[in-house]
Subunit: 296 residues, 2 copies
């Protein structure tokens, strides 16, 4: 029997679902709303929201409407001030986990900590976080070692969508520098991301082909893709239906599907339906009926 | 010219000097005073203090006098209570750097941190520190990983006499475990130890023979011995004059001397005089006249 193994943790995470639902409610109420950058990193979801009236701009200057939605990744305090000064109403759809880190940075900043952020310096979450403290620095920035030399108190926080392994790997690299007299390391990695990583690993070991559903511009989806690739040679991004429709599945006995946190349930259902229609039976990973075992 | 290169940082450190001076003052005043274990890790110093009336015992039960001195490495709260309940007067000669860590552990304990101590579990400093918090554990103890799993808040502190490199190495090993949501790492390594380590490294590179003056039972002296041995094949412990008097120095052009923090200035002077008498000229490391250079 041909099998379709579906991850347990799939589709929108809590934070993304909340952001998308808020956007949809606002759009149905007001017809138009602005955001800086994509509010979630998924082209399909963004297309749908744009068709309903979401205006995506790059800078506060480009906002020409009355209402602004803060994306799931959060926004810097400087940019926020700028928007509010224009008289634009701001609706905050920041992911609660990111929101928590922003408050943590503020608190640490008041306590005179120098804040080191581990993450991708070009990711909107990190760009936003940097503005919540006066002394913040992304690990790996230019002259990093010089800038953190002789500190009294340093705090380390991580971008929510890093894998826990990656975060600790970088923390280990960081702690090899002569750092501060006091270093506090917060584990700010989102648990949801970790669970998906784990499933990506497990499923990739037991199937012939892995489909990673989600945007290539989504950090956590990209990391699932990478992880799956370590255990399986046949791993493919599926951003849209056409990516899978052109795919030859002859000789493929088992397919695994996993997704990033910004991939909608609708898209997942559509993909699943397509695969089932061509002869695969859906089994959930970890379900006793799957017969999925390591080394199987 | 035959050279004797003397380390800049040599002899008692501030903490040890304070402990020994306190002990001497008390002995000259009262004639007898008790301690549990050696108050400093140096056999020569201990012999002198014992000859003046210091009574070294192993447990509170063995104290038969009226006064007790707390050794430089500090003492656990349990043992302290025990001694005070006997009606014995306690004079605290704990090294101020160790004292600071004891207070830090107490504070962290009140804030519900689980405290991880990096150090030698058999060293009196570590044995003492453990008693200042309810939840303390020495890194590397049996079932360590199991016991620290799923913690909320963990604090890491190090035995003062570790080298900074050794401390960070173990911190890196520690941070590879799935630890707490919040981990605060304190750099409690005594700076004096670090400076001596650095000198041990530099001097060992440029001399024919290295003499490490101090007790083999002194943790920081042992670490200087280890460090020197990494850069020089001719490294020797000198605990007493007889260790050096039997030594053949034919063909030796340069001698380096370094010492742990519990080695007395008197002993160092005696060793220096001996070496100078047999034809070596004293030069201080880093003094321009030494001509000591790396790769020299």
């Amino acid at each position: 029997m041909k099998k379709l193994v579906v991850a347990r943790n799939i589709g929108f995470c809590f934070g993304v679902r909340r952001t998308v639902e808020m956007a949809e409610r606002l759009l149905s109420e007001y017809g138009e709303i602005y955001s800086i950058g994509d509010i979630v990193h998924n082209p399909l979801v963004m297309e749908r929201l744009k068709s309903k009236g979401l205006q995506v701009v790059r800078t506060p200057e480009e906002i020409e409407g009355e209402r602004f939605i803060v994306r799931s990744h959060g926004i810097g305090t400087g940019t926020l001030d700028c928007i509010q000064k224009k008289g634009v109403e701001v609706i905050d759809a920041t992911c609660p986990s990111v929101k928590k880190i922003q408050s943590l940075i503020k608190k640490l900043d008041n306590q005179k900590y120098f804040i080191i952020i581990i993450g991708d310096k070009k990711h909107p979450e990190v760009i936003g976080l940097k503005e919540y403290g006066k002394n913040t620095l992304v690990f790996g920035s230019r002259d990093f070692s010089k800038k953190v030399k002789g500190l009294e108190k340093a705090a380390v926080i991580g971008q929510t969508t890093l894998s826990f392994e990656e975060y600790t790997k970088r923390v280990r690299r960081l702690t090899s520098l002569p750092l501060a007299r006091e270093v506090v390391i917060y584990n700010t990695i989102c648990k949801v991301t970790g669970e998906r990583q784990k499933e990506a690993r497990e499923i990739s070991k037991v199937v012939d082909v892995v489909f990673v559903l989600g945007g290539r511009n989504s950090s956590n989806t990209a990391k699932l893709y990478e992880t799956a690739g370590r255990y399986n040679r046949n791993v493919f991004y599926i951003e849209r239906m056409k990516d899978i429709e052109g795919f030859s599945l002859s000789g493929v006995d088992s397919i695994g599907i996993i997704s990033g946190t910004s991939t909608s349930d609708d898209f997942i259902s559509e993909v699943k339906e397509y695969i089932k229609k061509i002869g695969y039976r859906e089994v959930q990973y970890n379900d006793k009926r799957t017969g999925c075992r390591k080394n199987a």
